[in-house]
Symmetry: C3
Subunit: 255 residues, 3 copies
């Protein structure tokens, strides 16, 4: 019997094809630093981003969306109000993904992050210090598994190696490149990509892992052409635009 | 007798030369997703962008500007207040252009868009679904003509083919490239470019058409060098920086 | 005896090495137009940017930062409140740099800029019209010197030639390229770079001059490869990522 994750590159290729075909709408509540890069990453794979946070209209936007991204970067009162409305509209209808950016830097943000976890995100993408701040526990493998199972969500912990678990299944992804850490909003864009995958794939664990894998491989391809983080940010958008099954199957380092 | 639009490439070259010479100030009320790309597009052609929306100071900025862009993306209460002040300062003194982004997604935004049309924008740039939401009518040629004439404005409907009409004259532009739709804020940047043209050209129909034509041709030139939407967004800024009469006259597909 | 500034290229190389080693956190209150480019410039040299302006959490972010940038672009009530909290947390603990963007366009902004100068920034980076609006005096050399000494700060006046003075010492930098003026937020990014230098170098005059010199040289290197302002903005991030003592010593035009 093959482990489910052995099919991840193939599943990712199929999910990307579905995104290009269906052009899902992904509403992104994200920080102003990340907005343009996030929108361009979504457009590159064929998704349609929208980004308003105005309380007067965010409900209408989420009602017409196929997935929702909730990113806590540049967190303020207006954004909290937008998040509440948006999650209310999304709940039980479309999947939403939480990206608790920098919650290790601010107790206020960490408290709010925990409140949001209680509202059943389909997935949470974060790095190790953010997980520690969210869970109050170390970012070890068994803790990730426990936390995901306990909260009925998918945890995608990204770093030099990425781990994606839903409490039962676990994928470990070795793709990516160190230079990606020198581009602002790379993690935010990965979260947006995973949200686009959630829009077209009902298995949240596969969808989230597909988003992480696609960004990692695009990042590697981009790094081969880049001369620094400036050109990397451009090359990665180009690589996502052209990413296909061939590159995914050839390059995937999934365990 | 030649139709007026037959001179559009030549007029566009002259307008771009005037922008480079006069460095008009274009104040942009635009969404945070679009701000940086919009500013870079304006700087590339020689215009000087400013972007504050603070009620305390937007009046002073618009008072010193040569044209105003009102873009409804990321629309909220603060922005509405800024728009009211800005249009008040602009009216009867400098031209302003309306870009009713995504009004097809939110009834609140569509209502507000209609209120703004009543305040006499020099031009409105939008796509077909946005026109339908604004006008409550289909985006057919005769409807565009009627709407522009009725409201005393210029309508620039952009898409695979662009149509620019003031109710009497009509230009149809075939330039552009499909890849432009994969870059966020491309339409917003086109609106900003048209606003820069309005700053130096009193004939609003010629000015708006010049902005649309310049972006379409720059997009084509950029697409010849780009490997995807990431590099396209960079190449288009470079192409606008170098755009001259030669390329305009050689490439223009105007009917 | 050699003038102190003759060692500036060497000092700049050492400061950049220290930034890469220590990865100082630079909290940036900056305008939304400039955020992504500023963050990418900081990441390229090895600093860690954060950008929230929410009153609820900015105190925690500045408490964990090594330097603070206060940029007045897109100035509004929320930002003013964030600035007050941030400077309160920074004062006497970490250096902060003021970038009074566009204060020549708005009397409100100029008044507020003067209030901030009274709160002892380590340095102020601005262009000539902004200095005139701030100081109420012409941007001549002796006035810059007087103003810096009077306010106990470093003035970095940037333009075709940059002048950095603390009232006693003076450096004049001839590096840079005209195309840099066609990229939005270039000055803001230079301010952020100087703030990163302040985070690791206690001599504020040397730190500020190092930031200005590094950007100027990176800009020259970028301009040699760029085809316009679009590619320049990418190349300059790549050049900063690779900038080393060799290029600094070879290219510096310091008097």
């Amino acid at each position: 019997m093959r482990a489910p994750q052995s099919n991840l590159p193939q599943s990712t290729a199929e999910i990307l094809a579905r995104i290009r075909e269906r052009a899902p709408r992904v509403h992104c509540i994200t920080n102003t630093v990340a907005q343009a890069f996030t929108a361009n990453v979504l457009l590159a794979v064929g998704a349609v981003p929208s980004m308003t946070i105005a309380p007067e209209e965010i409900g209408a936007f989420v009602a017409g969306a196929d997935a929702l991204l909730v990113n806590l970067g540049t967190f303020d009162a207006e954004r909290r109000s937008a998040i509440d409305i948006a999650i209310g509209k999304a709940s039980g209808r479309i999947p939403w993904l939480l990206d608790p950016v920098f919650i290790d830097r601010s107790p206020t943000r960490a408290d709010y992050g925990r409140e949001l976890v209680a509202q059943s995100p389909a997935a949470i993408r974060l790095n190790a210090p953010e997980f520690v701040a969210l869970a109050g526990m170390s970012a070890e493998d068994k803790v990730l598994t426990f936390y995901a199972g306990e909260h009925g969500t998918v945890i995608a912990l990204t770093g030099p190696t990425d781990v994606i678990t839903d409490g039962i299944r676990r994928a470990q992804i070795g793709n990516g490149h160190a230079l990606m850490g020198c581009v602002t909003a790379m993690g935010c864009a990965g979260s947006a990509l995973a949200a686009a995958c959630l829009a077209v794939e009902p298995d949240c664990w596969i969808a989230t892992a597909a988003g992480v894998l696609a960004l990692g491989i695009a990042g590697e391809m981009a790094a081969e052409r880049a001369r620094g983080p400036g050109s990397l940010s451009i090359e990665i958008v180009d690589a996502l635009y052209r990413l296909d099954g061939g590159a995914l199957l050839q390059r995937a380092e999934v365990a």
